[in-house]
Subunit: 148 residues, 2 copies
DNA sequence: TGCTCTACGCACTTTCAGGTGCCTACTTCC
DNA sequence: GGAAGTAGGCACCTGAAAGTGCGTAGAGCA
């Protein structure tokens, strides 16, 4: 029977779509940067963190130690920091360097690719700071409207 | 006792951080666009969808009906489409227009703010298409390395 | 007159990112 | 010599997002 009109057509479309969906580079990018700590790590390694010394707040990429990151991203657990750094390293966005000092120290640094991504995330941040006020305003007026 | 050095310091920092974190505009933006269907809806309304007619694939923003969106984003459930559209409408990114035709039809359209956001998402897409190959390559080589 | 379409609403369930807690092996400080 | 720091690993838990399924109210269609 060819009565499979609306629901089944959609189910079929969904199946086809999912394969494409999983491989979509934009989706992968969104999944990567929407991680709770990814953008923070990028910002910290990119020099956007809270600068306690120096003048401007532009900041330049610089290597940071694990414990330094842990302090800069106050609130992150060791597990999540490790996990985030590992996934970023896996994707070639940061490089991990082990230094055999007194207690073994590890430094993380943005790669070229990571710097590129960081620039884009900074663009996101700029957009957010420019337009999110409008969004919040809309949200407030929408919520205050009588539901109808 | 003032022995609360490492763990408790971190717990305290986390508490302070969370308040800032929740209000961070960049975080809000990421939360918004990282929704599974948000970027797709933006792309569809912005004209980036699969163009079955016409020449270039640049596309211009145009209003679309609910069912039209449902077909364009093959695989989305009605619930998620509605939910996504509502949240976008709430944030002033799309406008919803009810037309009292034979069966009541609803059209959705990007607002100015929505178009602005769509441009940025398009930037993300461009970055993804340019650099994600590198990322995938890194990922593959990382995975193939002997774990050590 | 039973089926489908439109544009949803509601309730339940699944899934997984993120969080918590406890462990390590080595070293330095007091 | 016990506490804390360094750089994590492992196992379990939770909460929110996403998915599934069913209902609806009016209308067209064979």
């Amino acid at each position: 029977m060819a009565t499979t009109t609306a629901a089944q057509r959609r189910a079929r479309a969904k199946t086809e779509y999912d394969a494409f969906f999983a491989a979509c580079p934009s989706r992968e990018l969104l999944n990567r940067i929407s991680g709770k700590w990814v953008a923070l790590v990028l910002a910290a390694l990119g020099g956007d963190g809270p600068q306690r010394s120096g003048g401007g707040c532009t900041g330049e990429p610089r290597p940071m130690r694990y414990s330094e990151l842990s302090r800069a991203l106050a609130g992150v657990s060791q597990k999540m920091l490790t996990q985030t750094l590992r996934s970023l390293e896996r994707d070639g966005l940061v490089s991990r360097t082990v230094v055999a000092t007194v207690p073994v120290t590890v430094t993380y640094e943005l790669t070229g690719l990571g710097v590129s991504l960081h620039h884009m995330v900074r663009g996101l941040k700029t957009w957010a700071e420019t337009h999110m006020d409008d969004v919040i305003a809309h949200r407030a007026s929408y919520d205050s409207e009588p539901a109808g």
